[in-house]
């Protein structure tokens, strides 16, 4: 009888042991990181603490880990060149675990317990919307590095990624002029694609384009045969692709197998950068387009140095992309503001940042717009090459002013955030 009991317990013990091993494994690596942090600083009073809040596990880890790496790299560079206000920057890394309540919780921990001067992080709009009330309540600063759907401005957030008029709107105008008027909108079923498509539909109406179809698929959807059949029937010139994550892989593979090439229909993506192309497979995407503010192939001296440093630090097979770059220069913009303010106090830093902070980022000159705390950015359209890099087809040539509420566009009146 006892023996049987033992056998019943055994699997649970094995499971606990394995889990224990995994947890201690993670713990070990964490303490190592802390030790490295300690080595560079004698006591915590000589340091400026900043938080890095990204999904290091879960479905979003795919994208966010590399942004965390770039943010860390910027912090290390600033430390190596003498630090900030005579102090070293001490990064505290938290894992949002692709879970929005966790993001809010960790942001609260960073602000309340660690008293960080700024937080660099978030990727999905859902995580940003979860962190937003926290940074507003505790008067923190969030530097948000990813392109998003716009229609938002918080005095506690600085947006270093593009808003729609710096990505989607110029892309639609360019497509109408260069690739044709008939648009098919395809996106994942959540807030970013739905809001983006609402903007695109208004713009198409104003600029003489036609909407021939609009489809949304659940996140993680993998069978696109029916949708591709619908696309064939609708005969668009352009597919505007706001799919996120893994669905892109399935979509591009199956589109190619259905015999549709970039010569028949151009796919314009807004959420697939160099990092994602590695997973989609360059051969599946070659010839199609994407619109961003930065490509790894962007030709500036700052970018050459940036790509070299990033590869030297994290491996030659790694690539840089737009959110990685925005995560990187965000730290520098914040550091410039701190220098100007002579303090890390949030209110003083915000005022300094809004007084016209500039930085020569890898994508070119970036500066903060005082009106809405977004960044002036150059817009670029690139064609995917066989090696997974982009060839720039078009660019605005200079940074353009952020306009997250699309005030500069008559056709955008009446658009609002959310569904």
């Amino acid at each position: 009888m006892k023996r049987k009991f033992f056998y019943q317990l055994l699997p649970i013990m094995v499971l606990l042991l394995t889990l224990g091993l995994l947890v201690t494994g993670c713990g070990a690596s964490k303490t190592k990181e802390n030790k490295e942090g300690e080595k560079s600083t004698r006591s915590s009073e000589d340091t400026i603490k900043v938080g890095i809040l990204h999904s290091l596990s879960g479905t979003m880890a795919i994208s966010e880990v590399s942004v965390k790496d770039a943010t860390l790299m910027a912090i290390e560079e600033i430390n190596a060149s003498g630090g900030l206000l005579g102090k070293k920057i001490e990064p505290i890394i938290e894992d949002g675990a692709s879970d929005w309540p966790t993001f809010a919780e960790k942001a609260k921990k960073l602000l309340q317990q660690d008293k960080v001067a700024a937080i660099f992080g978030c990727w999905t709009s859902a995580s940003r919307k979860a962190v937003l009330p926290v940074v507003e309540e505790y008067n923190g600063l969030l530097w948000y590095p990813v392109q998003y759907e716009g229609l938002e401005a918080s005095k506690n957030i600085f947006y270093t990624g593009a808003e729609p008029t710096q990505q989607i709107v110029p892309a639609v105008s360019w497509l109408i002029k260069n690739r044709g008027k008939d648009f098919f909108l395809l996106g994942s079923d959540y807030v970013f694609p739905r809001t983006a498509n609402k903007i695109i539909k208004a713009q198409l109406k104003a600029e003489g384009g036609n909407l021939v179809g609009e489809e949304y698929t659940p996140l993680g959807h993998t069978d696109y045969s029916t949708i591709i059949n619908k696309i064939k029937t609708a005969r668009p010139k352009v597919i505007f692709n706001t799919l996120n994550g893994d669905s892109n892989v399935a979509f591009f593979k199956q589109l190619r197998d259905a015999g549709i090439t970039s010569k028949d229909i151009t796919v314009m993506s807004v959420s697939a950068a160099e990092e994602e192309i590695r997973g989609i497979g360059a051969q599946n995407m070659a010839g199609h387009l994407a619109v961003w503010n930065y490509f790894q192939s962007t030709d500036t001296p700052e970018n050459k140095a940036f790509v070299e440093k990033y590869k030297a630090k994290y491996g030659q097979d790694r690539v840089t992309d737009d959110p990685i770059e925005a995560g990187y220069f965000g730290v520098y913009l914040w550091a410039e503001a701190v220098k100007k303010a002579g303090s890390t106090d949030v209110d003083k830093v915000r005022e300094a940042a809004k007084s016209g902070i500039e930085f020569k980022a890898p994508e070119g000159l970036v500066k903060i717009e005082p009106e809405n705390q977004h960044t002036w950015k150059t817009v670029r359209i690139g064609e995917v090459q066989a090696d997974g890099q982009f060839k720039e087809l078009w660019s605005t040539g200079r940074p353009i002013k952020p306009d997250p509420f699309l005030k500069g566009y008559d056709w955008a009146k009446g658009l609002s955030a959310g569904q």
């Binding site: 699997p11 394995t18 949304y216 045969s225 893994d246 399935a250 593979k253 197998d257 015999g259 990092e275």
Partner: protein
């Protein structure tokens, strides 16, 4: 007309993929009554086997042979996941027979461990599997109707798998032993069937089929640590709808869901189509809790 024909083909194609991912589960869940939440991760491992085989072929073997990697990867995926299934059965599952809820919890833990392992070994980002050249493109039937070779290949592969399983279960001595154990364990044991061994091998067979499914899915979609989670719900839905314990049920379940899904998706949208399929399956199970094909056996009482 072309659109309709293509849509019918799509329906069959989706069914074949559903069937492929559910075949292994119909053995472990349907026959053995083990709720294996790690089935999706076994699929994921099969996909990574294809990835690694491709790497080996492109790095160490002459270029002309590259097209063959996929043919090698399929049995390799079967072997790797089959062995893993054997291991899993011996260290964990065998203590949990007859306790479906416990096996659900334990295998869920296993699935998380396997996902994290994949993330540690291959990294969090998706990896790219280049499909062999002979599977690219499609069969041009008429001007507007092109059937992708990959989908045709998958349909063929599924037919072979189903035929193989049928022959194994209903025409071979070992298959007869398996059925005997599943239907009446004590009686089979009395008659000298080594039930422990049969359990092990049956579970390994189900796991191996998951590996084949994973290997094949690399043709269509993404290969990442979370690959399995996308398919696990569909796989369970197929087996439950078909009626646990019958292979013919799984085939019917996959066909029903696949064709229903593409038809509804075409007439509505992808999200609504999926919800409708769920709703119809649930409603159907209210009327016939045992699924399309029910089996009378004492083991399931």
């Amino acid at each position: 007309m072309d659109t309709l024909l293509l849509q019918i083909f799509n329906g069959i194609s989706v069914s074949s993929i559903l069937l492929l991912i559910a075949l292994g589960l119909s053995i472990t869940f349907g026959l053995m009554n083990v709720i294996n939440m790690a089935h999706g991760e076994l699929i994921m491992i099969g996909a990574y086997v294809a990835y690694v085989t491709q790497l080996v072929f492109s790095r160490y073997l002459p270029k002309e042979l590259f097209g063959l990697y996929f043919i090698v990867a399929i049995p390799l995926a079967f072997a790797v996941t089959g062995l893993l299934g054997l291991l899993l059965e011996n260290v964990l599952i065998r203590f949990l027979y007859g306790r479906p809820l416990d096996s659900l919890l334990a295998t869920w833990g296993v699935s998380m461990i396997l996902q994290q392992l994949a993330r540690n070994i291959f990294g969090a980002p998706n990896v790219d599997v280049v499909s062999p050249q002979w599977l690219n493109g499609g069969l041009q039937v008429t001007a507007g109707l092109q059937l992708p070779y990959k989908r045709l290949f998958i349909i063929g592969l599924v037919l072979i798998c189903v035929a193989g399983i049928y022959l194994f279960f209903y025409r071979s001595g070992y298959g007869r032993k398996i059925r005997a154990v599943m239907q009446n364990r004590n009686m089979a044991s009395c008659l000298g069937v080594p039930t422990r061994k049969v359990d092990s091998y049956t579970f390994a067979l189900g796991s191996g089929l998951a590996g084949i499914a994973g290997c094949t899915l690399t043709l269509l979609g993404s290969i990442g640590p979370t690959l399995g989670t996308y398919y696990i719900v569909d796989a369970f839905m197929v087996v439950v709808l078909g009626g646990v314990g019958k292979i013919i049920g799984t085939v019917a379940g996959a066909l029903a869901i696949g064709i229903l899904n593409t038809a509804l998706e075409y007439s509505t949208t992808a999200s609504i189509g999926k919800v409708l399929v769920f709703a119809i399956v649930i409603a159907f199970l209210q009327l016939r809790p045992a699924g399309l094909f029910s089996i009378r056996t004492r083991a399931l009482d």
